[in-house]
Amino acid sequence: MGKLGEYIKSAIKQIIGNGYRTLMTMLGIVIGIAAVIAVVALGNGMTEFVQSQLNGIAGNYGIINIDTSKTSELFTQDDIELLETTLTDIKGVSPEISGYGKVTTRKGTYEANVSGGSESFLHQMSNGIVKGQYFTKQQVDSNQRVCVMLIDDARKIFGTEDAIGLELDITLYGKTATYTVVGLRESMNRMYEFLMEGQDYYANIEIPYTSMGADFDYYVEKFYSLMLFADQSILSDRVNEAKDLLTNIHGLRGTKALNGYSMADFSEELDSVLGYATSFLLLVSVISLVVGGIGVMNIMLVSVTERTREIGIRKSIGAKTGAIMTQFLAEAAILTLLGGIVGIIVGIIMAYIICTLIGFKVIVSPTSILGAALFSILIGLFFGLYPARKAAKMKPIDALRL
């Protein structure tokens, strides 16, 4: 419709004609939209950061448990082999046993958390091996006294990063055995440091579960928990498949004796928690946007009062209610759209600055930009409605008398 174009043109003229006022009116919308964009980017960055850091600590694994109150069945070595041959795209399956004791090196004695697993246990953390190598299947099968630890732990308990080949005594439940370091894992990330801050130091030592059984009297023929390692994208599915397989083999259908959960589930939960935090921030920014909208309404009301005579003139020469209404609505919508565009630019800049300062990845989603632009127009239309109606409903004779 050609008329609409004319109204928009005249609205733009009006907006440019009142430059200073336009700027001040837009400011509220600019701040609101910028806050929304920045908060959404910050939320995305935070989620991404926390997730990558957590994955960095924990690796991608799932755990399948047997509830011993519901059955006397336990997992066996055969189960592990079956899962590894059936689920071809997983990285491996390992039993997991652990104990809390002490390690003694040439430098001193330290608290230690000792975990036993198979060679697949490599994948329980995403920190790769930087020195030496992880213990092998042969070493596991032949109960060798070998161990792997973090390079940070090596620095702490040996006083050197060149710890490959060094020996340490592991004491668990009053028994002591001497193990040789064969591999060192990469340092932990910042999130781990943050989580461990303030806790008493202990070393994390990984050894073959077979040796753990032989040296410290652990029962390692059967297990009540298995770890399954796979890429995060397929982890949930594989854990469920493994659970079903094991349920069938052990004849536990209908008993609910097996539980399976994975890091992926945990991530989802974490996601939703972070989602709440983001929603809350978003709510605050939306409130500021609404305040901006009220500012627009205020200015439009002033504008209607100021231009009463103009409205009278327009009506006297044939403008209908709809025409006046469209003109003022267009003005409010363009005002807020302009504010929205400036706000988007400011918001992106803010997002970059804040995220870079904190160290988050900058993720400005196109949806938030589009949403912000749309929302700003809607605010203009909504808050412009009342002033526009007020203008349109004026009687020409009253408007001209002034």
Partner: protein, 232 residues
């Protein structure tokens, strides 16, 4: 002569009740096509109310108003807007141009509201501005022009859409005598070109220029006669 305007027994009462003001008191009036009428009266006589009534800017308290045989006295706001747009060209005392628009844009305005296409609109508006001698002022804004020039823009706006009635409310009230003469001669020319012209004024000197003079006082028509001194 065909009836163009027919007012039947119209009353307009402000503040009905104890302090009521009868701005128009049972007024009846017929104006034919192609007439040149002056409505004269002192301030407070009701002539402005009559002008608002004739211009479809106001509705009567009682009585009827037929324009082109159509009853326009009880229309909705939007219908009245439409009638004003099609039938009436206004020339106001205070010019009533929109200050932010150029002369050309002001003249185009009623055509926009009528939905005339851009090309045609521009041609009509330019022709109208030409006919009032403002072809060189099209891009000027009202505050860049003299009073006489502004009133000529207003006349161009009134005639651009070629309405049957030109309704002029004290068209020379804000002008010096030189500009007044100019405006009156333009209005006379428009009458001679076949338009119906109604001038509302308190100035007998202006009224004398018209062919028919209607005098109004206290909301009543007290005399309605052909002007014996009229010269073509």
């Amino acid at each position: 002569m065909k009836k163009l305007v027919e007012i039947k027994d119209v009353c307009k009462i402000y503040n009905p009740g104890e302090n009521e003001v009868r701005a128009l008191d049972h007024v009846s009036l017929i104006i034919g096509e192609g007439e040149f009428v002056a409505i004269i009266g002192q301030s407070g006589s009701g002539k402005s109310t009559l002008m608002n009534m004739l211009g479809c800017l106001d509705t009567p308290t009682s009585g009827k108003y037929f324009l082109h045989g159509q009853d326009v006295s009880h229309m909705t706001d939007d219908e009245q807007s439409d009638v004003r747009n099609r039938e009436i060209g206004f020339i106001f005392q205070g010019f009533n141009l929109i200050p932010s628009l150029t002369a050309l844009e002001n003249v185009e305005l009623p055509l926009i509201y009528r939905g005339v296409g851009k090309k045609e609109r521009e041609n009509l508006s330019k022709a109208a501005l030409n006919s009032v001698g403002l072809s060189k002022r099209m891009t000027h804004k009202p505050n860049e022009m003299s009073g006489g020039q502004q009133q000529r823009v207003a006349i161009a706006r009134a005639i651009a859409q070629a309405p049957p009635i030109l309704l002029a409310d004290e068209p020379t009230g804000n002008l010096d005598s030189g500009s007044s003469k100019e405006i009156i001669s333009i209005i006379k020319r428009l009458y001679n070109e076949g338009r119906t012209v109604i001038i509302i004024t308190h100035d007998p000197g202006i009224a004398k220029q018209a062919k028919r003079i209607i005098t109004i006082s206290d909301g009543k028509i007290v005399s309605d006669m052909m002007n014996p001194d009229y010269v073509d």
